[in-house]
């Protein structure tokens, strides 16, 4: 059975502790975490503004974010690659085929997802609850942080979705990272590589490791999401 063989191979790979495998896992984590954190830093304020405030052009901004959520990663990869290529406007920075380039592309993927989902979550927090906080002396920033805390279930779901999108992405990281062994190879690009070589068992084993990482991360987020459930609205 090919699937059982894959599981055995995955366990063996991890137990062998091959430096290359651990390097791929570390790079996967580094790029995914960096771009998720960057996505939160950029996306949370955008999401709050779109979900909780009224400004001219808000509907257009929401439409653009919703569109950005659906842009194929490979298109984002192409745009980032062109921007960072030697002839591109940021070519002088020499970032192409680096982890930084991968993080930039992945951040462009995670940000609209996180922003869009946070906007929806924050929009469900009653305006009067924020007015209540304001009436007790909250500044606009404190009011925004309270709204994000109140919408915690949705905010964590947004972070999980952003992380999921970057950790499973292959097109963009392949284009801007180049799948260079020991440098920019991540689990998804390694799976593509091994499949191309006909090493399906190994590719599947890598897939299982990727799924385990994703499951662990989502398990943590879900635990955190529900850790204060007794304080949620019944």
């Amino acid at each position: 059975m090919v699937f059982i063989e894959a599981v055995v191979t995955a366990v063996a790979l991890l137990l062998q502790g091959s430096a290359e495998l651990w390097n791929v896992i570390a790079t996967t984590f580094e790029v995914a975490i960096t771009s998720t954190v960057a996505g939160v830093v950029l996306g949370a304020p955008m999401g709050f503004l779109m979900g909780a405030t009224r400004f001219r052009g808000r509907r257009l901004a929401v439409a653009l974010i919703n569109t950005a959520m659906a842009i194929p990663p490979v298109v984002i990869g192409l745009v980032v690659m062109m921007t960072l290529s030697r002839q591109g406007p940021l070519g002088f920075m020499g970032l192409l085929y680096s982890k930084d380039a991968m993080s930039i592309a992945q951040t462009l993927i995670s940000t609209p997802i996180i922003a869009g989902l946070i906007a929806a979550a924050v929009a469900s927090v009653p305006y009067k609850l924020r007015l209540q906080a304001r009436s007790l002396g909250a500044s606009r920033l404190q009011e925004a942080l309270l709204a994000l805390r109140e919408a915690r279930l949705g905010v964590i779901a947004a972070v999980a979705a952003g992380f999921g999108a970057v950790v499973r992405g292959v097109g963009a990281v392949m284009m801007v990272g180049g799948n260079i062994e020991g440098q920019t190879r991540v689990l998804t690009t390694a799976i593509v590589q091994e499949s191309r070589k006909g090493e399906f068992g190994l590719a599947l084993a890598l897939g299982l490791i990727l799924m385990t990482i994703t499951f662990a991360m989502n398990g943590f987020l879900t635990w955190y999401q529900h850790s204060n459930e007794r304080f949620d609205r019944s």
Partner: protein
């Protein structure tokens, strides 16, 4: 920790206007709440009273007009001024967390030390009758409990201006009555300047010193609770308050602190002294008007005003009947219990004796 002895601050506004979608929701030329007084703002739904509270509480900016706190002009950007105020709304809007987390929220924003915070929270919960409730989940409380927490959360800040936006309207009558009394006691004890928005005149009468009635964002009546409810200035206000439009008449006698006012055939007696011939509007609260069967012997009473009238309207309002009586061409309202209506067989056209005291009659020169 904030000083316990801080008195209320005078709150005043002039020329306040606010519109939403080109519809004017608030248009108040002037409103004044002297330091330490409680002003009730009454009005039906959509009359702009909550918007007015948000503007006076510096929670939202008006389109035009100024707000003054102790004579100094303040705006919604003035955080120091906002720190002197606290509000509780119709829905308690408790935050996720414990009761203590909620009550401590404003104190944390004011960077109070946690040891002081704990004792302030405990003290505030004690005041609203929830001593020892600190560690309960705030979002599993009943409506009345949650509203007490919301009040404790505002009171713990020792605000100099307290803003209450229909804080009791979502509660059942039993809890409502109890909380109204508690609110009135707490407000008096703290000598805070209080703006109390409500559509319930009974709440307003229990809590406020003065009241303003808003219609479509514009004040149509203002004065002491007694003045406004006893002598509504126009038919709309009277109808809103469940009374009848005031009668009009001329003073025909004035002696020994008692005046007689001819309202068109009937002479109504009121306490006071006015020049003979003065034109007055005259009103009596429905609660002060007693009805007896038309042919009944009226028991010995000090009530100076006794008339024969005809029931012209009977409506059931909650537990009481609202009756409108015609006396000498003028209309008076009365509240009568279901049992009395049944026993007396009251219906439209019934002849009744109408009795009320001279001291219950309010009047104003026109």
């Amino acid at each position: 920790m904030m000083n316990d002895t801080q008195a209320g601050m005078a709150l005043r506004c002039t020329g306040i206007r606010k519109s939403y979608d080109k519809r004017t929701v608030v248009d108040v030329a002037e409103l004044d709440i002297p330091a330490g007084e409680t002003l009730a703002v009454l009005g039906p739904s959509g009359s702009g009273k909550s918007t007015l509270l948000s503007i006076l509480g510096l929670l939202e900016p008006p389109d035009a007009g100024e707000v003054y706190l102790d004579g100094n002009r303040v705006t919604h950007r003035d955080k120091t001024a906002r720190m002197h105020m606290a509000a509780a709304f119709q829905s308690p809007y408790l935050f996720k967390g414990t009761v203590a987390d909620n009550v401590a929220y404003g104190l944390k924003l004011r960077r109070m030390l946690s040891v002081d915070r704990r004792s302030a929270v405990a003290d505030s919960l004690e005041r609203v009758g929830l001593g020892g409730w600190e560690n309960r989940s705030a979002l599993t409380l009943s409506g009345g409990e949650a509203q007490r927490v919301a009040l404790a959360r505002a009171l713990v800040l020792r605000p100099r201006v307290l803003l209450l936006d229909e804080p009791l309207s979502s509660l059942d009558p039993l809890i409502k009555g109890q909380l109204a009394q508690d609110f009135a006691r707490i407000i008096r004890e703290h000598s805070m300047t209080t703006l109390y928005v409500t559509h319930d005149q009974n709440e307003a009468m229990a809590i406020a010193d003065r009241m303003v009635i808003l219609r479509d964002g514009v004040p149509v009546a203002s004065g002491t609770v007694d003045e406004v409810t006893g002598l509504p200035p126009d038919a709309w206000t009277a109808n809103f308050l469940g009374a009848e439009s005031p009668m009009q008449g001329s003073v025909v006698s004035s002696a020994d602190g008692l005046i007689g006012i001819d309202t068109g055939g009937c002479v109504v007696y009121a306490g006071g002294s006015e020049e003979i011939g003065s034109r007055l509007i005259v009103g009596v609260r429905p609660e002060d008007v007693l009805l007896f069967e038309g042919d009944a012997d009226i028991p010995i009473t000090t009530a100076r005003n006794r008339f024969l009238g005809t029931v012209v309207d009977v409506e059931l309002w909650g537990v009481m009947y609202h009756m409108v009586i015609d006396i000498c061409g003028s209309r008076l309202a009365s509240r009568v219990s279901r049992a009395s209506v049944r026993d007396m067989g009251l219906e439209t056209g019934s002849k009744v004796r109408v009795v009320f005291k001279a001291s219950a009659v309010r009047y104003k020169r026109i």
